[in-house]
Symmetry: D2
Subunit: 373 residues, 4 copies
């Protein structure tokens, strides 16, 4: 994605603009391939607007989502924190959703109704999405509000459990209340990534308690400014593996833990989702021996935005690199493998260093190479 | 210069960003030198927020202004057009100003209280800025509202007189009502530039009726998207020539017609302001003859954002170009002048093609070259 | 061309290259459309290698030409100036040609045999190209050597008549010897552009004496370094308008004065060639009125590398610019024309400011606009 | 940092270049800090010119070296392979050195006399540098020629032991002849990197037989084209750790195995050199706790061209990344460390993934952090 953005940017830049500037939408789509059995849908389910403490009208969130090529968003206004209420008294907590929904309709962007349940720790902040009526979540008791959300069919997740305002050491840590929520089936997921932060401890909690691994922007200002979009940055998103492109299918994906988080060129997820995603991203575009040598020239195509940082686990050495191999995003990278003799096919096993399936655990993938005859 | 930057850029670009993206404010300041006797202050006095039909909270307008290095802004909400009033009933028409003012305080950005008087044609839309109380401008009569603005000490100007919604041929044209407003001293300026448009006819009206030449963004969405900021675009601004950096001094500049508009690499203004600005932008950094030849190598420094497109009016010809000379913005450009014999000093007169003092009239400037002894 | 180059450059740059760098040839082709009746062939007929005072073997000149997408080159070694003769005694003055010819064969690049006749002023340096045997040009008499070149069927031209080493005032000026050469039909063309220089006076001589207008790089070092190729620069070239892509047809074009020089975003040529080239570059891709208004939105496509700097000569004014209009190279630019009423078709006449047909004379072109029905 | 540069670049790019292109030398220096006790000198000791099978005159090699900011070069023409001998009969094998030496004098670039001993396998190709007279190396016997080189005081190394033309499997492998050369002290080093290739097996040989680890470009054409310089690539070089900037001190460094190879963002060397180099590159520019939290915000400055790819070995986790940390070259990167309590100082141990001290062995480094009081 970074590449294309810069390309378009430069295409525009190299001009003396005595003319009206171009106003079309630049290419900055977040792009991932589908995986066997599922569509890979790009979601950001934690965002704010002027309807709580954000700085934009919902239409900007829709435009940002379209520019980033998201499939689904949720505007999750704080139910309890309303700093603009002097100007926007709005009794209706569904209003942000409705404005966005209207705006999004023409574009096919999925808008999911959601709210942020905003409490001191415990349980801290949580999102309830796929709800029916945000107003009915105005409930003081912190357990009861989750029960109401669940009655509405919500998917719920704990926001920024590593937030230093609530956790001065930045360490995500469950409380008795969280355990109760989990036990009662009231808490489905946990943000392992929030905005500019990542939490190894939150990932471990997700694994230990079978929670959905979530990553969100929690954007309040502008996505472009917060994530350096013009310089090739990207917002954190949750990739949901869904059977179709619909709100229901996304909810099913979330409830069944089928997610991977894409954050700062890092993939975070369970092995069951992460390995198929990485392997769907990569394919051998060409493979042939160089002349009579036993040097196999293998062109690997990467159809994802990830710049994969791989460590070879092969017994073969490479002719143009150490075992540390970097695969360009949305492009092709040539590997030259010294296979000692000319083979008809062989495997290239790698560890993906910029992906984690648990703290400090990286998934293994294998590229199967078939030599062109 | 370009080369160096490109290389530095690429040296940086050549990176895997597994780290948190940088969030500091990029360099995109609009930069012009001061002129003899005056500071050159960069102003955008026509902007909208959620308090009328814009899509952002006022804090975003402040942040945009800081990124663009503006000296002064005004948030000019439509008094009569309030599409968000279902959500923001706000009886107080000064609210947008107050929020911005609070936000801007820490940064020294000047925020001027203003409002957009929003009428059918005539007189169409107009801004009143430097007012005391926007609420008191809620007056139905289109003349009376200007009288009230003037009682409050306002500077007033006609917005987008070329707007095709009100002028289907896009031609700015005065009506009897405008003539009355001008005659009574109720209308001070006229937008020659609004958003992505420029009007030769509006410029002619400004000259014919001694109105202040204004250029504004009239931004409703995001400045970055509307003007292609990442690609090197800039919002239209009014440069006000003021005796000090204060709201009062800017008002004095506007009332006394001391403005130049900067739009899409084009300068628009009266000769009395435009020529000093162009000449203040340009200086001879170095000048020497090449060896024993009569080829004068002259390095021209340009301390403005304008990429000057000049046509030589000199009797001398150039060694590296035709008479069409382009001076890089914020940089140096070398000219090689064939002076026929070695002179101690000489003049290089030019016409500035990307500046207008009247429709199809370009100002002349002169670079005085003194050869280093 | 500038755009594409940067695009490719950036596409490569945004990567951590733990892999072998890519070595493919970047896109930096000089691209111009053909004109009615002729192919537009891109030529550089003044270059040096180690076989006179250049710093590269001829194969590098071939590779540079391929990267620049030239159609034809000539390696014009100094017959009389051989600073490397201690290392390269080479009695055969055709050797440089032969090496290049062998190298170029596989690519279809046309290599023309040529030599530089290297004399003090008068007559200074001249090139004879399309010769049969360079060795036979080793003739002391400065007139006789031209006669021999012509006997071989040469096209001849005067090199850098503005060279300050031979003309300390940089002014191209004919001598009696030049007049004799012209009168006898021994001198066909003159360099109006050489390397980094342009000469108004040489252009006037070309017009006054009906000489072919030539522009060449006269490269001794590397084209990339001399012309800032990575930053979007281009070498000066002669565009020859030929009936087919062959050496013979190019020679016919040169002998019949059918050339335009492309130098630093400036076109230099006779009106008969320049206007068709500019008009072939430009076409109206789309044209429609904006809603019910009389604002015609006209998309102009530019299929040349020229960033055209135009001054409107139309009675209509524009909605997004003054009369100074810049058309992006290899791209589209939108003009908004205020035609006062909805027309079925209309003309947009312009003067091309960055083209000259004589000193300070710019050609006029007309874009004919037909509104889509 | 990236943003700022991008904007500055675009500010510049946004120009019509009707002027002469800039011809100054771009910034593309290879830059590494010195290490305790030694200067870090950047060397490329394997290059060709027209004096053997290269395509440029020696002056281009000097200019390339200056652009790359090399400290020392050697032009190592093939003694036995002279494809240009029809044009350059040159009996003197020292000629290439002499031309380069003359050219380099004004710039302070160190030029070392060298030659490539060009044999079939065994022993394949080898370089002898720091020799006295290349002509005396025209000796048929493959052992004798090394003895003569050593008599002249040479440093010798085996070139591209992984060359598929001589090793069809690309595997560097010693022969009896190599063992003899090593045993007699006639072979000092081995290319672990040559041009676009790297060899794990050559690295192992260097370690097993105590040979100097060498990396060279073996350039025949243009460095810019071969290594994608405009796109941010760099040629492979040998960093020599020398007591002063002189030919003698470099020779001493090479003879004493004090080298690190810099290839495609990878460092290759012995731990004794590699760890000090990495640690000299990195320093803690700032470190403070964020408010009352136990989140240490640590700014790491990297004064080398290496984009370090690090794996944390710390017990602490990070607030903005997994344990995979990338440090921008020639810039600063912020790390946020969760130290659980506020400490006065602490260590951050890392493994450097893009550096190898042996096949698949990465060096460990430690950043010591002292919190500002």
């Amino acid at each position: 994605m970074k590449k294309l953005l810069l390309l378009l940017l430069l295409a525009q830049a190299f001009q003396l603009t005595a003319q009206a500037p171009h106003t079309h939408v630049p290419q900055r789509a977040i792009r991932f391939p589908d995986v066997p059995g599922y569509l890979t849908l790009v979601c950001d389910f934690h965002q704010h607007t002027v309807f709580s403490d954000g700085s934009v009208w919902p239409d900007i969130r829709v435009q940002e989502a379209l520019r980033d090529s998201l499939d689904a968003i949720s505007l999750t206004e704080h139910l309890e924190y309303q700093p603009h209420k002097g100007d926007i008294p709005h009794p209706d907590r569904n209003r942000s959703y409705e404005v966005a929904k209207d705006n999004a309709r023409a574009y096919g962007l999925i808008v999911v109704k959601g709210s942020e349940i905003t409490r001191r720790m415990p349980p801290g902040h949580s999102n309830a999405i796929f709800i029916q009526d945000a107003n009915k979540l105005m409930i003081e008791d912190s357990i009861e509000v989750f029960r109401e959300a669940k009655r509405q069919g919500a998917f719920t997740f704990w926001n920024h459990p590593n937030w230093t305002a609530q956790r001065p050491d930045g360490i995500a840590r469950l409380t008795a209340m969280h355990l109760q929520l989990i036990e009662e089936g009231l808490l489905d997921g946990i943000e392992v990534v929030n905005d500019l932060t990542y939490s190894d401890e939150a990932l471990q909690i997700a694994l230990d308690y079978n929670l959905t691994i979530m990553g969100t922007s929690d954007i309040h200002g502008l996505v472009d400014w917060q994530y350096g979009i013009p310089e090739g940055g990207h917002r954190p998103v949750t990739l949901a593996f869904a059977t179709e492109r619909s709100a229901e299918a996304i909810k099913d994906a979330l409830l069944n833990r089928r997610t991977v988080v894409w954050y700062n060129n890092t993939l975070i997820g369970r092995e069951a989702q992460l390995v198929p995603l990485a392997e769907a991203s990569l394919s051998v575009a060409k493979a042939a021996y160089q002349g009579p040598s036993s040097l196999a020239v293998v062109t690997v195509r990467n159809t994802s935005d990830v710049e994969y940082v791989l460590q070879s686990r092969s017994g073969y050495t490479f002719h143009t690199s150490t075992g540390l191999v970097v695969l360009h995003p949305q492009g092709e990278t040539e590997l030259q493998v010294k296979t000692l003799e000319q083979l008809k096919e062989f495997d290239l096993p790698f560890t993906v260093l910029n992906a984690v399936t648990a703290p400090n655990e990286h998934p293994d993938i294998t590229l199967h190479v078939v030599i062109a005859q």
